[in-house]
Amino acid sequence: MQLVLTKNIDGGGKRVDFAAYARSGGYEAVRKVVGKLAPADVVQVVADSGLAGCGGGGFPTGRKWQAMPSRAARPGPRYFIVNADEMEPGTFKDRYLMEGDPHQLLEGIVLAAYAVEADEAYIFVRGEYFQAIAALEAAIAEAQAAGVLGGLTIHVHAGVGRYICGEETALLNSLEGKRAIPRAKPPLPQVSGLFGCPTIVNNVETVCNVPHIVRHGAEWFRGLGVGDEAGTKIFGVSGRVNRPGVYELPMGTSLRVLIEEFAGGMRDGFQLRAVLPGGASTGFLGVEKLDTPMSVAGMAAAGSRLGTGNVMVLDDKTCPVGFIRNLQHFFAQESCGWCAPCRDGLPWVDQILAAMETGQGRQSDLAVLADMPGRMGPGKTFCGLAPGAMASLETGLKMFAQDFTRHVQERVCAWA
C-alpha cells in the first residue's frame, strides 16, 4: 500500500518539522518548478493528473485553475485560498493533515499559487482547530526562515464558527470581514473572488496532493487509484467500529475493505445497518452497497456521493430517526438564513423529527417530510447546504421507513 499524503505522519499528534519534511523530499518540487517551469505548465500537469477536489465537491482541480484569467488578461492582486474550515459532521481528515504534516500543505500552496500566479495566500482554518493553527504558524515561520516561500505571503485566518464558511463564496465574504453568506455564481471566484480579484479556493487535502503530482508526474498520480479515478484518498471511519480513524487508501477502494479490513469491522454486539459515505451531506447506503468503490463515480452510481470520503457508520443499536434528527438539527442551526426554503424548511424538518423522537409525531408528518427534498433539493436553494441536508433525509425516509412509521404509530422511540 503506497502512502503519499500521510507517509510522514505517525498519528501520535507530533508535527513533522521543516528538517524532517525536507529529508523526505519536501520542497523538492518547489525547487524543481518555481522560476523554471511556466505557471501554465504546472496547471497542465495538475489537470492531466485527474486530481479532483477533496472537500466534498469532487470538481477537477485543473479545470478550476484553468478558469482563472491569466495575469496578462487580469492584472492586479490575485489570491490562492485553502479551505480548512473542516466542519462537515463526521469528517476529520484535514485536521490530521494539518496537525501532522503542515509543510506538505505549505509546499502545495507555494506551487498552486505559482501556477495560478497568486501573490498572496490564505489558509481559512476553523477557530476550534487550535493545534492545527499552531502547527501551521510554526511551519510558516520555519519555511520563511528557510526561504522556500519565495515572495509569497501566507496568512492563517482563524474562523469564528459557522459551517457555511466552508461554502467557497461564503468563505470569501467571511475573509472580507462580513457575514458568511454565499454569493451568486457567476461570476466564479476565479474571475471575481476575494475583494473582487481572481481567486482560487481549494480544500486542504486537494492542495496537499499538488507537491507529489509535480514531483512524480500526472501519470504516476493517475496510477495510484484502483479504478478510473486518480490518486490516494484520505478516508475516515467513525461510529461503532473497532478501529475508527484515518486511512489513506487508493481512490476507488471499496467501502467493505475500508470498514472491515482497515477499521476492523463492527464492535462485538453491533451490526452495521447503514453508512453515510462522505459526511452529513451524503445519502445513506445500506449493507448491500458495501462493495461499491469509494470514488466520485462509484458513489454516485450507488445513489450517494463520495463527499469528504469520511464514513459515518450507523449501527443496529442506534435509532435511525434520532440519528437523522441530529443531522437535520445541525443543518437547521447552521443555515445562514439567506434564502427562505433553507431558513424556514430546515427548522420545520428538525421540529417534526424532534417531536417524533419524543412520541409526539403524527402520521401526516411523514408526508410533510417526504415532500421536503423536492422543495430544498438541488436548484431550489441559493447554495448547497439544504440540498446536502436533504440527501440523508430523502434516503433515510426510504431506508428506515418502518422505523419512522413505528415512531408515529406507537408514539414512542423504541431506542429511548
Partner: protein, 145 residues
C-alpha cells in the same frame, strides 16, 4: 486599548480578526467593546454587530473563565455525548448556554469538532479531550479544579 496588529489600516475587512483579538483579551464582546471595535474599523456599530452575532464563537454575553465546547454532532451523539452533558450538569449545575455562578465555566454545544475517531469529544479552552465518558468528565473537572 487593543494591543498587537493595527486593524484600522484594513478597515471593515478586519472585522472578524479584530473581534477575535478583543475577545481573547476580554473574554467576550460587550456593547462597549463593540463600539470601540467599530471606531477602530471605521464602520457603523450596527453593521459590526450584524457580523458579531452571525458567528458561533463570538460571544456577545459574558462567558466563564473556561469555555467547554461539547460536540453535538452525529457521531458524538451516537457514542454518548448526552451522558457527558448530564454529568457536567450534575457537577457544575449548568446546561448548554449557561455559566456557573462563580464564573469558572460556560458550557456550549459546538458543531462536529472533527475528531470523530475519538468520540465523544469536548474542548476545554484550547485543549481537546476525547474518548470521554461520565467518569472521564469527573476526572477532567477534578484535574482542572
Amino acid at each position: 486599548m487593543l494591543t498587537g496588529e493595527d486593524f484600522s489600516a484594513r478597515g471593515p475587512a478586519a472585522a472578524i480578526d479584530c473581534l477575535r483579538a478583543l475577545q481573547k483579551e476580554r473574554g467576550y464582546i460587550s456593547d462597549e467593546t463593540l463600539a470601540e471595535a467599530a471606531a477602530i474599523l471605521q464602520m457603523p456599530v450596527a453593521v459590526l454587530d450584524e457580523v458579531a452575532t452571525f458567528y458561533n464563537l463570538i460571544f456577545r454575553e459574558p462567558v466563564g473563565k473556561n469555555v467547554i465546547l461539547l460536540c453535538d454532532s452525529a457521531v458524538c451523539w451516537m457514542l454518548g455525548r448526552e451522558a457527558l452533558q448530564s454529568r457536567i450538569f450534575e457537577r457544575l449545575g449548568i446546561a448548554p448556554g449557561e455559566t456557573t455562578a462563580d464564573g469558572q465555566y460556560t458550557l456550549l454545544p459546538v458543531v462536529c469538532l472533527g475528531a470523530c475517531d475519538r468520540a465523544p469529544v469536548l474542548l476545554v479552552g484550547e485543549t481537546l479531550h476525547g474518548h470521554l465518558d461520565a467518569a472521564g468528565v469527573n476526572k477532567l473537572l477534578d484535574g482542572a479544579a
